[in-house]
Symmetry: C2
Subunit: 192 residues, 2 copies
DNA sequence: TGAGCCTTGGGACAAATGTCCTTTTTAGTA
DNA sequence: TACTAAAAAGGACATTTGTCCCAAGGCTCA
């Protein structure tokens, strides 16, 4: 659920560290706002952000939690549109940044970088497809169990409200499902 | 809801038509099966397919309906994995195909093609993000209204079951929502 | 200290969706 | 034409989720 891309982070820190600018942000800061012009791509050195979209009805939907090596601001470069999501730091955050103009040059001049970006885009599609299919085909309880399996300390990192916005349910429903799950865990422990 | 990419189709037919193989399929044929090795990328010349993922619980989830110019089989090339979706023809289908090896060469040798592919990947991400956010933040009724607005003759093209699998609901629920909508339409017409 | 705010937790009822089952309609075919 | 299978439509009931509320606990800041 927390996405990372160590390959591209390693390549940049080893080969392109002087090409990129570095920046720091505090927890709670908005790095990128929805429906604004985007002029840089950003790559996370360390920390965690949420990438979310605010809908017209006032609800937020969390696309992804991005950790080390994940890129944002690149889609808008390719599609020539304003941002369709916002990015907010959930922890102290260190990022690499590169203006879109330089990004374009790098894509043309550095085949290995080009390939890493292609790969990153493809991974985003693949992951989104599988996530959406799972959420669309299973009860929310199953989605949550799967996530908690991957990340047992989930709620030390991410608030319940954010988790609800990731699952596309209300906080009330999340609490209900968590209660059910704890009940089942209890049963399992007693029986086993 | 039915995705197209006329730019890349135009570029291929004008500049690369002799590089690609062409193939034809009948309605109902499976072009690409989930969890299989993929050796070609495919680009739709004409016709319509559904791109869907079958989950372990027996349910199918439709990722997208692909029309003219849309690409499939490219993600697996970048991620070096087996297919994560199946592709089935919903109409008589004509496609361009290219082996992955040749696709790799073309990406390196033809910057314009490279850019068109990047753009296609970025558009898929952007569209998926917006669709998932909308579906996750709104009642199914709203999603359906939006789709019917874009494509009023939807059910002449796509079966109700496929539509339900696209929305992540059951056929029973889809019928219920359609009934509600027709009732509201009636009211609107009478009142207006 | 205490006021205000955020997060968490949950009761009660309404609305939406799933499950199971039956009937009707449609399309294709022997 | 008659048969068959698939698609479409919907009744009845159970389950899930949303909405609206209220309350407890922790935190900051005047």
């Amino acid at each position: 659920m927390i996405r990372e891309n160590k390959n591209i982070l390693k390549y940049i820190s080893q080969n392109l560290s002087e090409v990129f600018i570095t920046k720091e942000f505090n927890k709670g800061e908005i790095i990128l706002s929805q429906n604004k012009n985007v002029n840089h791509i950003s790559i996370i050195q360390s920390g965690l952000v949420k990438c979310y979209r605010s809908e017209a009805n006032g609800k937020d939907f969390i696309q992804e939690f991005f950790g080390a090596g994940e890129i944002f601001g690149e889609i808008e470069f390719f599609t020539h549109t304003v941002s369709f999501c916002s990015i907010e730091a959930l922890q102290e955050l260190h990022i690499y940044q590169l203006p879109h103009k330089d990004f374009a040059n790098l894509l043309n001049s550095d085949p290995q970088f080009n390939q890493l970006i292609m790969n990153s885009l493809a991974q985003k599609i693949s992951y989104k497809a599988q996530r959406h299919a799972f959420q669309g085909s299973h009860a929310t309880e199953n989605s949550l169990m799967k996530i908690l399996n991957e990340t047992p300390d989930l709620f030390n990192i991410i608030s319940k409200q954010d988790m609800a916005n990731y699952l596309g349910i209300t906080l009330r429903s999340l609490n209900r499902i968590l209660l059910q799950l704890s009940g089942k865990e209890g049963l399992t422990n007693e029986e086993g």
